[in-house]
Protein backbone atom coordinates (compact mmCIF):
# COMPACT_ATOMS: atom_id res chain seq x y z
CA UNK A 1 0.00 0.00 0.00
CA UNK A 2 2.94 2.35 0.54
CA UNK A 3 3.42 2.95 -3.20
CA UNK A 4 -0.21 4.06 -3.41
CA UNK A 5 0.39 6.79 -0.82
CA UNK A 6 3.60 7.87 -2.56
CA UNK A 7 1.68 8.21 -5.84
CA UNK A 8 -1.13 10.12 -4.11
CA UNK A 9 1.32 12.61 -2.57
CA UNK A 10 3.03 12.95 -5.97
CA UNK A 11 -0.32 13.71 -7.60
CA UNK A 12 -1.28 16.29 -4.98
CA UNK A 13 2.08 18.03 -5.37
CA UNK A 14 1.70 17.97 -9.15
CA UNK A 15 -1.77 19.49 -8.95
CA UNK A 16 -0.55 22.29 -6.67
CA UNK A 17 2.35 22.99 -9.06
CA UNK A 18 -0.06 23.04 -12.00
CA UNK A 19 -2.15 25.70 -10.29
CA UNK A 20 0.64 27.85 -8.93
CA UNK A 21 3.23 27.96 -11.72
CA UNK A 22 3.13 30.97 -14.05
CA UNK A 23 4.32 29.32 -17.27
CA UNK A 24 1.50 27.66 -19.20
CA UNK A 25 3.66 24.87 -20.67
CA UNK A 26 4.96 23.89 -17.22
CA UNK A 27 1.39 23.84 -15.95
CA UNK A 28 0.30 21.52 -18.77
CA UNK A 29 3.26 19.22 -18.09
CA UNK A 30 2.32 19.10 -14.40
CA UNK A 31 -1.26 18.16 -15.33
CA UNK A 32 0.15 15.37 -17.49
CA UNK A 33 2.19 14.12 -14.53
CA UNK A 34 -0.96 14.01 -12.41
CA UNK A 35 -2.72 12.00 -15.12
CA UNK A 36 0.12 9.49 -15.42
CA UNK A 37 0.14 9.08 -11.63
CA UNK A 38 -3.62 8.43 -11.70
CA UNK A 39 -3.13 5.79 -14.39
CA UNK A 40 -0.51 4.03 -12.25
CA UNK A 41 -2.84 4.21 -9.24
CA UNK A 42 -5.53 2.43 -11.27
CA UNK A 43 -2.98 -0.20 -12.26
CA UNK A 44 -1.96 -0.77 -8.63
CA UNK A 45 -5.63 -1.07 -7.63
CA UNK A 46 -5.93 -3.87 -10.24
CA UNK A 47 -8.13 -2.06 -12.75
CA UNK A 48 -6.26 -2.40 -16.06
CA UNK A 49 -9.24 -1.41 -18.20
CA UNK A 50 -9.57 1.96 -16.52
CA UNK A 51 -5.78 2.37 -16.51
CA UNK A 52 -5.54 1.93 -20.30
CA UNK A 53 -8.42 4.33 -20.91
CA UNK A 54 -7.02 6.91 -18.49
CA UNK A 55 -3.57 6.71 -20.12
CA UNK A 56 -4.73 7.18 -23.71
CA UNK A 57 -7.26 9.89 -22.88
CA UNK A 58 -4.59 11.72 -20.87
CA UNK A 59 -2.20 11.64 -23.83
CA UNK A 60 -4.93 12.95 -26.15
CA UNK A 61 -5.83 15.75 -23.73
CA UNK A 62 -2.17 16.75 -23.39
CA UNK A 63 -1.74 16.90 -27.18
CA UNK A 64 -4.89 18.99 -27.55
CA UNK A 65 -3.86 21.30 -24.70
CA UNK A 66 -0.34 21.82 -26.02
CA UNK A 67 -1.20 22.03 -29.70
CA UNK A 68 -4.48 23.88 -29.74
CA UNK A 69 -4.65 26.15 -26.73
CA UNK A 70 -1.11 26.93 -25.71
CA UNK A 71 -0.35 29.50 -28.39
CA UNK A 72 -3.48 31.50 -27.60
CA UNK A 73 -2.86 34.23 -25.04
CA UNK A 74 -4.96 33.60 -21.99
CA UNK A 75 -5.63 36.38 -19.54
CA UNK A 76 -4.21 35.88 -16.08
CA UNK A 77 -6.09 37.16 -13.08
CA UNK A 78 -3.34 38.02 -10.65
CA UNK A 79 -5.12 40.89 -8.97
CA UNK A 80 -5.43 41.36 -5.23
CA UNK A 81 -8.20 40.40 -2.79
CA UNK A 82 -6.30 37.25 -1.88
CA UNK A 83 -7.19 37.64 1.81
CA UNK A 84 -10.91 37.45 1.06
CA UNK A 85 -10.40 34.55 -1.37
CA UNK A 86 -8.37 32.57 1.15
CA UNK A 87 -10.91 33.17 3.92
CA UNK A 88 -13.79 32.04 1.69
CA UNK A 89 -11.88 28.96 0.55
CA UNK A 90 -11.02 27.90 4.09
CA UNK A 91 -14.62 28.54 5.17
CA UNK A 92 -16.06 26.35 2.40
CA UNK A 93 -13.53 23.59 2.99
CA UNK A 94 -14.39 23.50 6.70
CA UNK A 95 -18.12 23.44 5.96
CA UNK A 96 -17.65 20.57 3.49
CA UNK A 97 -15.48 18.66 5.96
CA UNK A 98 -18.08 19.13 8.71
CA UNK A 99 -20.91 17.75 6.61
CA UNK A 100 -18.69 15.00 5.21
CA UNK A 101 -17.87 13.86 8.73
CA UNK A 102 -21.54 13.47 9.56
CA UNK A 103 -22.45 11.89 6.23
CA UNK A 104 -19.58 9.44 5.77
CA UNK A 105 -20.41 7.68 9.05
CA UNK A 106 -23.43 6.03 7.46
CA UNK A 107 -21.65 4.71 4.38
CA UNK A 108 -20.92 0.98 4.20
CA UNK A 109 -17.35 -0.09 4.78
CA UNK A 110 -14.74 -0.34 2.05
CA UNK A 111 -15.25 -3.59 0.15
CA UNK A 112 -18.81 -4.13 1.39
CA UNK A 113 -21.03 -2.46 -1.20
CA UNK A 114 -24.61 -1.43 -0.58
CA UNK A 115 -25.88 -2.96 -3.82
CA UNK A 116 -25.68 -6.74 -3.79
CA UNK A 117 -26.32 -7.07 -7.54
CA UNK A 118 -22.62 -6.86 -8.37
CA UNK A 119 -21.97 -10.29 -6.89
CA UNK A 120 -24.61 -11.73 -9.22
CA UNK A 121 -22.83 -10.19 -12.18
CA UNK A 122 -19.53 -11.67 -11.02
CA UNK A 123 -20.99 -15.13 -10.57
CA UNK A 124 -23.14 -15.39 -13.69
CA UNK A 125 -21.46 -12.93 -16.06
CA UNK A 126 -19.36 -15.50 -17.90
CA UNK A 127 -22.25 -17.91 -18.25
CA UNK A 128 -24.78 -15.34 -19.39
CA UNK A 129 -22.70 -13.29 -21.84
CA UNK A 130 -19.77 -15.51 -22.79
CA UNK A 131 -17.29 -12.63 -22.42
CA UNK A 132 -14.18 -13.40 -20.38
CA UNK A 133 -13.50 -9.75 -19.64
CA UNK A 134 -16.18 -9.02 -17.04
CA UNK A 135 -15.83 -5.25 -17.37
CA UNK A 136 -16.69 -5.58 -21.04
CA UNK A 137 -19.64 -7.83 -20.30
CA UNK A 138 -21.00 -5.36 -17.75
CA UNK A 139 -20.65 -2.16 -19.80
CA UNK A 140 -21.92 -3.73 -23.04
CA UNK A 141 -24.50 -6.23 -21.81
CA UNK A 142 -25.80 -5.70 -18.28
CA UNK A 143 -25.37 -1.92 -18.32
CA UNK A 144 -25.66 -1.27 -22.05
CA UNK A 145 -28.16 1.54 -21.50
CA UNK A 146 -25.46 3.50 -19.69
CA UNK A 147 -23.05 2.97 -22.56
CA UNK A 148 -25.69 4.14 -25.03
CA UNK A 149 -26.17 7.31 -22.98
CA UNK A 150 -22.43 7.85 -22.83
CA UNK A 151 -22.14 7.47 -26.60
CA UNK A 152 -24.96 9.98 -27.00
CA UNK A 153 -23.13 12.43 -24.72
CA UNK A 154 -19.97 12.10 -26.83
CA UNK A 155 -21.97 12.55 -30.04
CA UNK A 156 -23.60 15.69 -28.65
CA UNK A 157 -20.23 17.03 -27.51
CA UNK A 158 -18.69 16.55 -30.97
CA UNK A 159 -21.67 18.22 -32.65
CA UNK A 160 -21.45 21.09 -30.14
CA UNK A 161 -17.76 21.64 -30.84
CA UNK A 162 -18.36 21.52 -34.60
CA UNK A 163 -21.18 24.05 -34.22
CA UNK A 164 -19.30 26.51 -32.04
CA UNK A 165 -16.15 26.46 -34.19
CA UNK A 166 -17.81 26.29 -37.59
CA UNK A 167 -16.81 28.26 -40.65
CA UNK A 168 -20.15 28.78 -42.41
CA UNK A 169 -22.53 31.37 -41.11
CA UNK A 170 -19.84 33.17 -39.15
CA UNK A 171 -19.64 36.96 -39.41
CA UNK A 172 -16.72 38.56 -41.16
CA UNK A 173 -14.30 40.82 -39.35
CA UNK A 174 -15.70 43.99 -40.94
CA UNK A 175 -19.27 43.20 -39.95
CA UNK A 176 -18.21 42.82 -36.35
CA UNK A 177 -16.61 46.27 -36.40
CA UNK A 178 -19.82 47.82 -37.74
CA UNK A 179 -21.79 46.17 -34.98
CA UNK A 180 -19.47 47.51 -32.37
CA UNK A 181 -19.85 51.03 -33.79
CA UNK A 182 -23.58 50.89 -33.43
Amino acid sequence: MIELYILLIFMIIGAIIAIEVKDLLSSVVAVGGVGMGLSMVFLILKAPDVAITQLVVEILCLIILIRATLKVDLPFSTTGRWVLNTVITVLFISVFLFFAKTCLKDLPEFGYPLMRIASTYLEQGLMKTGAVNLVSSIILDFRAYDTLGEATILFTAVIGVFTVVRKQGRKELNEKVEEENE
Binding site: T53, R67, K71, V132, N133, L140, F155
Partner: protein, 155 residues
Protein backbone atom coordinates in the same frame (compact mmCIF):
# COMPACT_ATOMS: atom_id res chain seq x y z
CA UNK B 1 13.00 21.61 -50.80
CA UNK B 2 12.14 25.18 -50.05
CA UNK B 3 10.94 26.32 -46.68
CA UNK B 4 7.46 27.29 -47.83
CA UNK B 5 6.53 23.85 -49.17
CA UNK B 6 7.78 22.14 -46.04
CA UNK B 7 5.08 21.27 -43.53
CA UNK B 8 5.22 19.42 -40.29
CA UNK B 9 8.32 18.50 -38.32
CA UNK B 10 11.87 17.54 -39.26
CA UNK B 11 13.06 14.60 -41.37
CA UNK B 12 13.93 12.47 -38.34
CA UNK B 13 10.43 12.76 -36.90
CA UNK B 14 8.88 11.99 -40.29
CA UNK B 15 10.97 8.85 -40.76
CA UNK B 16 10.20 7.52 -37.29
CA UNK B 17 6.52 8.35 -37.79
CA UNK B 18 6.45 6.31 -41.00
CA UNK B 19 7.49 3.25 -39.01
CA UNK B 20 5.35 3.75 -35.92
CA UNK B 21 1.97 4.92 -37.23
CA UNK B 22 1.04 1.51 -38.62
CA UNK B 23 2.06 -0.22 -35.40
CA UNK B 24 -0.04 2.14 -33.28
CA UNK B 25 -3.02 1.61 -35.58
CA UNK B 26 -2.59 -2.17 -35.38
CA UNK B 27 -2.38 -2.01 -31.59
CA UNK B 28 -5.64 -0.07 -31.50
CA UNK B 29 -7.33 -2.66 -33.69
CA UNK B 30 -5.97 -5.42 -31.43
CA UNK B 31 -7.32 -3.70 -28.31
CA UNK B 32 -10.74 -3.34 -29.94
CA UNK B 33 -11.01 -6.86 -31.31
CA UNK B 34 -9.85 -8.47 -28.05
CA UNK B 35 -11.98 -6.19 -25.88
CA UNK B 36 -14.06 -9.08 -24.55
CA UNK B 37 -11.08 -11.33 -23.84
CA UNK B 38 -8.40 -9.04 -22.40
CA UNK B 39 -8.41 -5.57 -20.78
CA UNK B 40 -9.26 -2.71 -23.05
CA UNK B 41 -12.34 -2.31 -25.19
CA UNK B 42 -13.99 -0.03 -27.66
CA UNK B 43 -13.33 3.29 -25.97
CA UNK B 44 -9.60 2.81 -25.34
CA UNK B 45 -9.03 1.27 -28.77
CA UNK B 46 -10.88 4.10 -30.47
CA UNK B 47 -8.77 6.69 -28.68
CA UNK B 48 -5.60 4.81 -29.74
CA UNK B 49 -6.74 4.87 -33.39
CA UNK B 50 -7.46 8.60 -33.12
CA UNK B 51 -3.99 9.07 -31.57
CA UNK B 52 -2.34 7.32 -34.53
CA UNK B 53 -4.01 9.70 -36.99
CA UNK B 54 -3.12 12.66 -34.76
CA UNK B 55 0.47 11.40 -34.74
CA UNK B 56 0.45 11.47 -38.54
CA UNK B 57 -0.98 14.98 -38.52
CA UNK B 58 1.54 16.35 -36.02
CA UNK B 59 4.48 14.96 -37.98
CA UNK B 60 3.40 15.57 -41.57
CA UNK B 61 1.15 18.62 -41.38
CA UNK B 62 -2.51 18.82 -42.25
CA UNK B 63 -2.41 18.62 -46.06
CA UNK B 64 -1.03 15.07 -46.28
CA UNK B 65 -3.33 13.95 -43.46
CA UNK B 66 -6.36 15.36 -45.23
CA UNK B 67 -5.28 13.48 -48.36
CA UNK B 68 -5.24 10.20 -46.41
CA UNK B 69 -8.19 10.89 -44.08
CA UNK B 70 -10.58 13.46 -45.59
CA UNK B 71 -12.98 15.30 -43.34
CA UNK B 72 -15.94 13.61 -45.02
CA UNK B 73 -14.55 10.26 -43.87
CA UNK B 74 -14.38 11.43 -40.26
CA UNK B 75 -18.01 12.52 -40.12
CA UNK B 76 -19.07 9.40 -42.04
CA UNK B 77 -17.35 7.08 -39.55
CA UNK B 78 -18.73 8.91 -36.54
CA UNK B 79 -22.32 8.73 -37.79
CA UNK B 80 -21.83 5.13 -38.86
CA UNK B 81 -20.61 4.18 -35.39
CA UNK B 82 -23.59 5.81 -33.70
CA UNK B 83 -26.13 4.20 -36.04
CA UNK B 84 -24.39 0.81 -35.82
CA UNK B 85 -24.52 0.86 -32.02
CA UNK B 86 -28.18 1.80 -32.01
CA UNK B 87 -28.88 -0.84 -34.66
CA UNK B 88 -27.23 -3.54 -32.55
CA UNK B 89 -29.39 -2.39 -29.64
CA UNK B 90 -32.53 -2.59 -31.76
CA UNK B 91 -31.46 -6.03 -33.01
CA UNK B 92 -32.18 -7.25 -29.51
CA UNK B 93 -35.91 -6.94 -30.21
CA UNK B 94 -35.57 -10.07 -32.36
CA UNK B 95 -35.09 -12.04 -29.16
CA UNK B 96 -37.26 -10.04 -26.83
CA UNK B 97 -35.94 -6.78 -25.39
CA UNK B 98 -33.61 -3.85 -26.05
CA UNK B 99 -29.90 -4.80 -26.05
CA UNK B 100 -30.60 -8.50 -25.78
CA UNK B 101 -27.64 -10.73 -26.61
CA UNK B 102 -29.26 -12.50 -29.55
CA UNK B 103 -26.17 -13.89 -31.25
CA UNK B 104 -24.73 -17.26 -30.15
CA UNK B 105 -22.34 -17.05 -27.20
CA UNK B 106 -19.67 -19.31 -28.65
CA UNK B 107 -16.80 -20.78 -26.69
CA UNK B 108 -15.18 -18.74 -23.92
CA UNK B 109 -11.58 -17.48 -24.26
CA UNK B 110 -11.92 -17.51 -28.06
CA UNK B 111 -11.91 -14.44 -30.30
CA UNK B 112 -15.32 -15.18 -31.83
CA UNK B 113 -17.44 -15.42 -28.71
CA UNK B 114 -19.70 -13.36 -26.45
CA UNK B 115 -22.42 -12.59 -28.99
CA UNK B 116 -22.96 -8.88 -29.65
CA UNK B 117 -20.20 -7.56 -27.39
CA UNK B 118 -17.41 -7.49 -30.03
CA UNK B 119 -19.77 -5.80 -32.50
CA UNK B 120 -20.63 -3.17 -29.87
CA UNK B 121 -16.91 -2.66 -29.28
CA UNK B 122 -16.32 -2.06 -32.99
CA UNK B 123 -19.21 0.43 -33.21
CA UNK B 124 -18.07 2.38 -30.15
CA UNK B 125 -14.48 2.45 -31.38
CA UNK B 126 -15.54 3.90 -34.76
CA UNK B 127 -17.56 6.56 -32.96
CA UNK B 128 -14.95 7.49 -30.37
CA UNK B 129 -12.00 7.49 -32.76
CA UNK B 130 -13.69 9.62 -35.39
CA UNK B 131 -15.25 11.94 -32.81
CA UNK B 132 -12.07 12.67 -30.86
CA UNK B 133 -10.04 13.13 -34.05
CA UNK B 134 -12.72 15.54 -35.26
CA UNK B 135 -12.52 17.54 -32.02
CA UNK B 136 -8.72 17.74 -32.34
CA UNK B 137 -9.04 18.81 -35.98
CA UNK B 138 -11.52 21.56 -35.21
CA UNK B 139 -9.50 22.94 -32.29
CA UNK B 140 -6.32 23.03 -34.38
CA UNK B 141 -8.12 24.81 -37.22
CA UNK B 142 -9.44 27.30 -34.67
CA UNK B 143 -5.86 28.05 -33.70
CA UNK B 144 -4.98 28.82 -37.31
CA UNK B 145 -7.94 31.18 -37.52
CA UNK B 146 -6.89 33.07 -34.39
CA UNK B 147 -3.41 33.54 -35.84
CA UNK B 148 -4.84 34.90 -39.10
CA UNK B 149 -6.99 37.38 -37.18
CA UNK B 150 -3.98 38.56 -35.20
CA UNK B 151 -2.07 39.13 -38.43
CA UNK B 152 -4.97 41.18 -39.79
CA UNK B 153 -5.05 43.30 -36.67
CA UNK B 154 -1.34 44.02 -36.70
CA UNK B 155 -1.16 44.53 -40.48
Amino acid sequence: MSREHEQGMSLIVKTITRFTVGLILLYGIYIISHGHVSPGGGFAGGVIIALSIIHLMLAYGKDITFKKVPRKTVSFFESTGAILFLGIALLGFLGGYFFMNVLPKGESFKLFSAGIIPLCNIAISLKVGAGLFGIFLVLVLLKFKVEIKDKNKSG
